[in-house]
């Protein structure tokens, strides 16, 4: 069982489901059900619910919890059987001895547990281990699987203590094979035997559409009820997000409602990922705009992007097919409809049969029909990066534009090389931009100085291989915003350290004025990180006396 369970007070709004799952042994004992198929969107918190259940049952000591995730399992039958069997033994002994370290120490050979097993009087478990070893020695694939999947039942029957079996990401179980992938089908149905036992309720979790496909096995379907895990309500989603921010020591700007969180549709995984994106981007005081920026980063380069990418890669390993799938999904998302197979095949590069199969899988997964905005943005971002070959910053901006309200503003962009005096080109540009809106020359000199300092810092300290600085000037009626972005090392600290003049005169080091200059000139200085890029955002209010009459 993974031990990185989140704190109980951060785990919100799942009390009813948790209590119901805890009552499963009772229901099963009375033949009123007892097996649950836990359903819900990706990231909605199925695994976390199982972790919390495991933790509570472990603490209470009346029912044995056993958790197994198929996502990270080796699906080659013999390996899987050994892994499943030994994990159960470890978790069982760990529960009885109230020592979590036993189940965590997966590298320790199971024979080392014999003294503890004997001390607990579990002679039947020694028999089970020997039987399993005997099947393994004979290379008896089928009986190894049976011995593994039935060990929770044996334990429950011998001890009289119910065992709750939690099978996470169960849709992957469909992939268990004997010697090469796809050589055997339907081995997941072996779990049907242990599911029938009155002392062993099973909770089976997995991706919505995929799990339905596994459950066409009648032996599994008949004895299982569905429990759907819904999204967190709006207020709780905000509470969860705020508690993540507090843990990461990030504040919300005053009057920030975090309304954008509604886009995440109460999905705890996405909420956590956005909070972590804010931390990675070094946000200190989060505004609504920041939230959108964190979202665009997360969905294009952050943990949510990695999460969806890994799912993609699991299903489509071939890079060419991945691109084709991306084209297909992008087409479907942008057009909001399924076009005819022939046209989709032409556009994506798949043949019509493949397009048909993918369309069916998409329908079954419910990802698009569910209006999963985040998944759609992930596809858009991936399409722009992988098919159109756009820069990550362009991708982020495109995503942001969808959510940020249009403001009366004009923008100029400039890319300069990291070469001697290139900052003067920037100074000239800001001078002309300022003249266009009749800004006072003293005011412009200040902007030039601040801008030059940040550019010099990027050139001197970033160590960028790209050797370019990207600038964006945004002019609004009441302010001018200048964004300086470069890859490489983060904003250097020496620029942020202020040393008094007297000390500078005593020391050989005369430099280190940059941050003081910039922060004195500008009204706001923000430094953010997105991936390997640093973004410095300088904002200066335009007051009436700074505009020429």
């Amino acid at each position: 069982m993974p031990s990185n369970t989140i704190a109980a007070d951060v785990f919100l709004n799942r009390e009813a489901e948790l209590n119901y799952l805890k009552s499963l042994p009772k229901l099963k004992g009375r033949a009123l059900g007892g097996n649950v198929y836990l359903d819900g969107a990706k990231g909605i918190g199925k695994t976390e619910l199982l972790k919390q259940l495991h933790r509570e049952l472990f603490r209470e000591g009346q029912i044995v919890p056993f958790y197994y995730s198929f996502k990270t399992a080796n699906l080659k039958g013999a390996y899987f059987a050994k892994d499943y069997f030994t994990r159960f033994v470890r978790q069982y002994i760990s529960f009885l001895k109230k020592d979590p370290s036993i189940e965590e120490n997966v590298a320790e050979p199971i024979s080392r547990l014999f003294p503890a097993i004997i001390a607990l009087g579990l002679h039947w478990l020694i028999d089970c281990i020997e039987d399993f070893q005997s099947h393994a020695n004979k290379n008896d694939f089928y009986w190894q699987l049976v011995a593994a999947t039935s060990v929770p039942v044996v334990a429950a029957q011998r001890s009289g203590m119910p065992v709750v079996v939690m099978l996470d990401d169960f849709d992957f179980a469909e992939g268990i094979y004997e010697s090469s992938r796809g050589d055997t089908h339907g081995l997941a149905s072996l779990f049907g035997v242990s599911m029938q036992n009155r002392l062993c309720p099973h909770i089976i979790a997995g991706a919505t559409g995929a799990l339905k496909a596994v459950f066409i096995e009648h032996c599994l379907l008949d004895m299982t009820e569905q429990l759907r895990l819904g999204p967190l309500p709006e207020d709780l989603a905000v509470s969860l997000f705020r508690s993540h921010l507090a843990n990461l020591e990030i504040a919300s700007a005053p009057d920030t409602q975090l309304a954008f969180l509604n886009t995440l549709r109460g999905n705890p995984l996405y909420i956590r990922n956005i909070a972590k994106a804010a931390w990675k981007m070094q946000k200190k005081e989060l505004t609504e705009k920041d939230l959108v920026e964190c979202y665009s980063f997360d969905v294009s380069e952050g943990e949510t992007a990695s999460y969806w990418s890994s799912i993609f890669n699991h299903h489509v390993m071939n890079p060419t097919k991945r691109k084709a799938l991306l084209k297909l999904l992008w087409r479907i998302i942008e057009n909001q409809e399924m076009e005819d197979l022939g046209r989709l095949a032409l556009l994506s590069g798949f043949n019509e049969v493949e397009v048909g199969a993918i369309r069916e899988a998409i329908d079954a997964s419910g990802i698009i029909g569910d209006n999963n905005v985040l998944f759609k943005d992930f596809i858009r971002a991936s399409y722009m990066k992988e098919i159109e070959g756009r820069y990550p910053r362009d991708v982020r901006e495109k995503i942001e534009k969808k959510y940020l309200p249009e403001r009366e503003e004009s923008c100029f962009e400039l890319v300069i090389p990291m070469s001697s005096n290139a900052e003067l080109v920037v100074a000239k540009a800001v001078e002309q931009i300022g003249r266009n809106i009749d800004l006072d020359s003293e005011f412009l000199n200040q902007l030039q100085l601040a801008l030059i300092e940040v550019c010099i810092n990027a050139m001197e300290h970033s160590g960028s291989y790209e050797k370019k600085v990207f600038l964006k000037f945004t002019i609004r009626p009441d302010e001018i915003e200048m964004t300086i972005e470069s890859s490489g090392r983060p904003f250097s600290l020496d620029l942020q350290t202020e040393i008094p003049v007297e000390e500078k005169l005593r020391m050989g080091m005369k430099r280190g004025w940059g941050f003081k200059l910039v922060s004195s000139i500008m009204d706001r200085v923000k430094v953010e990180r997105a991936g390997d890029r640093t973004k410095v955002i300088l904002t200066k209010k335009i007051r009436n006396n700074e505009v020429l009459k």
């Binding site: 003067l424 100074a427 030039q448 005169l505 005369k510 004025w513 003081k516």
Partner: protein, 120 residues
Amino acid sequence: MKSAQFSVTSRLDGDAAVIYPKGYLNNLSGKSMVTECGSYINQGISKIVVNFSETDLINSIGISMLLQIIEDLRNIKGTICCTNMSKFLRETFEMLGLIKYMVVFPVESDALKYLKARKA
């Protein structure tokens, strides 16, 4: 902002040297200004006037070079006067706390009068 090309010229007026930095005052140009002042200091000149009338733009490295000149003069108990500074330049020096280490005059002639008077 006029020309970015930097140059330093100078002249001797009595026992004071007048320096004319022109253009963008950065690391390279700052170094040549330090060298120019250094050559006068080596000749025993301890009064320097920097006339900023032709200085368009400055950066923090250029400022650090100016600080070097201030230090060099302090070591020989000399005086630095700055003249013809734009409002922006003066405010920048004030903001950084440099102004108290220099004597500021609106024009070069005032600075030279002041230095001559100090002679007595």
